[in-house]
Each structure stands twice: as C-alpha cells, then as structure tokens.
Amino acid sequence: MLRMFDSARRLRLLLVALTVASIGLITLDARNPNGGPLDAVGGVTRVVLGPVQRALGAVARPIGAFFSGLTQGGALRDRIERLELENAELRALKEQFDDILRENEELRREAGVPSRLGLTTTVASVVGVGPSNFERVVIIDKGSRDGIRVNQPVLGNGGLAGRVVRVGPTTADVLLLIDRQSAVAARLSTNGELGTVNGKGGGTLEFELLDPRARVAEGDRVVTSGYSGGLFPAGVPLGTVIGAPLAGSNLTRKVVVRPAVDFSRISFVFIVTGRGRQGGSS
C-alpha cells in the first residue's frame, strides 16, 4: 500500500517537473531568435548519428532504386541511351559556353560590372530526412569537414532545392523550398515582376507577387531574384506557374508554382560553397 502511494507520488512529481522543464524550454526557444537551448544537444547527437545515417542511407538508396526500377522496367535502357546522347550534346555546348563565359567575364571587367557566375559547388547525396512530420528537411552526407556552412544555397536537379540550416561534422540538414518556413526572393523570368516564393509544406510552392496588378500566366518561369547581398545566386530556376491566381489581398497577389526540383525523388544535391570572382565550377 505504502509502495503504491510512493510510486503515485513519484509519478506526480516527475510529471510536474518535466512539464515545467518543457514549458521552460519552449519559452527559452521563443525568446532566442538564433535557435533553441537544445542546439548543443543536437550538435552532439549529430556527431554520433551522422555516420550511422550515412551508412543506413547508403543501404536505403538501392532499395528505393529497386522499387522504382520494378515499376519502370525496360524504360531504363531507353533512358540511358537518351541520356548518353544528351550528355554528348551538352559536352559540346559546354565548350562553347566556357568560351562565351570567358568573353563575358572579360567584357564585364571592361564595363565594371560584378561577376555573377563562378559558383563553387560541392556534390552531396541525400542520406536521410528530418525526424519530424512537420518539417521538410533532408540530410546530406557532407558536413563542416567538407566546407559546408549554414545558409549555403543548395541546388537540385533542375533548380534551387533549398538551403543548409544545420551542420554537423559529416552531415548537414537542408531545409527544402517546400517547407513552410522557406521563403525565397524571386522574380518572373518573363517580365521581371518581383515577389517571394514560399513553401506550403506540400508538393507545390506559392509565389507572392509584390504588385497585385502584375501580369502572370500559366507556364511562366519563376527564378531567384538574387538581390545583392542575398542568400541565393540570381537566376536559379524555382519553378513554373501552374495555378490560376490564388486569392490575394489588395497589396499582393499569390499564384501556385510547381517546383523545378522533384522533391519526392531527390537523391543528389549541389551545395554552393563559394561564389564570386574565383571563377571555379563544379
């Protein structure tokens, strides 16, 4: 009898203590804009978890590939042939492009216009996803040891994928464009109308135009505006306008955008580790 009383009391004490602890943590987190009090704990967890994630991710990839291979079957051979052809074509174009690039750089130097190309990128493979159902985060197999830093832009196949939000020694977390917390300064490539592209947590993005009377049509391309000092380089594809205009206020206008990157099957990304005058490339 006495023991039962003891354990009930212990439970109540623990409940009160841990409730106070979690409310305290939430409050501390809300008061600190640079991250919560658990960041240090997360850093330690990341150090230990990173290698495990890398190993497990390497195992998970072929399994995913196997399942998608089953459904795609013979289409793969055609795909390889088509890609080889495309590759040869692109290689030829690249030589031409390098020449034009050099010319462009020379002309820019003459005219005193700052360089906008010359991104240095690091390739990384996606080894995992964030633990929460309320975040759209992927884990990549490169970390601070490979020169990855917080806020570096991340490119996917076809356009901007997101940005680095947390870094461990051997892994890093990338907040995808489709996450609700993601917002990127953008413009329409057709007429340069400015706005922001916001994540919705689902598969599509939302382009919020600054000018409510802006002309926007289905199929219009949206790219990063890359204002000076911004996080992202200019002109990186974000997506294509698909929906009719969403309801906006008198001050802004919103349209639905299909992301340029297919986030459901993202397996490799390029992290922009440097940009500016060094002129290197991947």
């Binding site: 841990l18 978890l49 309320f134 609700r180």
Partner: protein
C-alpha cells in the same frame, strides 16, 4: 528499473532515431513519415508503466526537438504526455490481444501529432492547412500501425526477459 533497462531504452531510442531519419523516413507516404520514436515510447509505456513511459517520452521528445527547428520542448511535452497516457490506460485492457499494440500505436500517434499540431498552431510555428495536416496525421498513424508487428515485439522482448509474456502483449506484475 535496472541500469540495464535504461541502457536498452536509450539504445532503442538511438537506433529508432537513425531508422526514422535515414531509412523509414525516406519511404514517406504522401509526405507522412512513421513516428518510430513514438512507437518506442508506446512499447516502453506498455511494458514498464506510466512513470517510465513518461520519462522515456520526455527523452525521446528532447532528441527530436534537438534535431529540428520546431520549438524546443514541444515534442518533449507531447511525447511525455503520450507515455504517461499509454502507461496509465494500459491496465484497463485485461485481455491480451495481438491488435492491442497496433491500435495503441495508431491512436497514440494520431492524438500526439494532433496535440503537437495544435500547440504548434498556438505558438504560431506551423499554421498549415487543416486538411493537409489531418491527412498527414492519419497517414502517419496508419504507417505506425503497419510497422508495429515488426518493431514492437523486438522492443518488448528486449525489455522483458524475465517477465511473463502472453502472445505479443506483456502483462505488468
């Protein structure tokens, strides 16, 4: 509560987190991932009772919070409540049933994520559309139920060597 058992629970949480982030999370259904850590909390609370369930929930929540941008302490609070609730209502089910663990995991995942979404909305961090959040919560719950037959017996078997085992359900004392 022996040191050995603390080790088992801590190890299970760590492996669960790795599994969640690097393996199962990659096979998301319409964006919904299983809540492996919550499944572990349910298994622990079912075998060890409300007190251990409460502490395990808190620890599992802290691990999740430390790795996300969500407000620190939110998941800790929600998982803690889940561990306490499961441990408390466990004695109400006298007859062992193979469905009980799966039903418990499903219900707990749904309720815990709903509570997290509600608290998140109150704190102004994730104001998603109601429908999308609801669909994701239901899918995550179903995902957890599907995983239960694979993961749950491993966990309970690891924890209860010397206890009386009835089917896949463990009776306390």
């Amino acid at each position: 509560m022996t040191l050995r058992r603390v080790g088992i629970i801590a190890g299970a949480l760590f492996i669960g987190l790795a599994l969640q982030t690097a393996f199962l999370g990659r096979f998301a259904i319409l964006g919904a991932k299983p809540e492996v850590l919550l499944l572990i909390v349910v298994a622990v609370a079912m075998t060890e009772g409300p007190t251990v369930g409460l502490v395990t929930g808190f620890a599992a929540g802290l691990m999740t919070d430390s790795l996300t941008d969500l407000p620190d302490g939110l998941t800790a609070f929600v998982f803690m409540a889940a561990g306490l609730a499961v441990g408390t209502i466990r004695p109400m089910f006298q007859r062992p049933s193979a469905w009980l663990p799966a039903a418990m995991v499903g219900a707990t995942t749904a309720l815990a994520l709903a509570l997290a979404a509600l608290l998140g909305a109150l704190l102004g961090v994730f104001a998603g559309t109601f429908l999308r959040t609801l669909v994701r919560i239901i899918l995550a719950a179903v995902y957890g139920m599907v995983l239960t037959p694979f993961l749950y017996p491993l966990l309970t078997r690891a924890m209860v060597r010397q206890r009386q085992v009835l089917g896949s359900v463990v009776v306390r004392r």
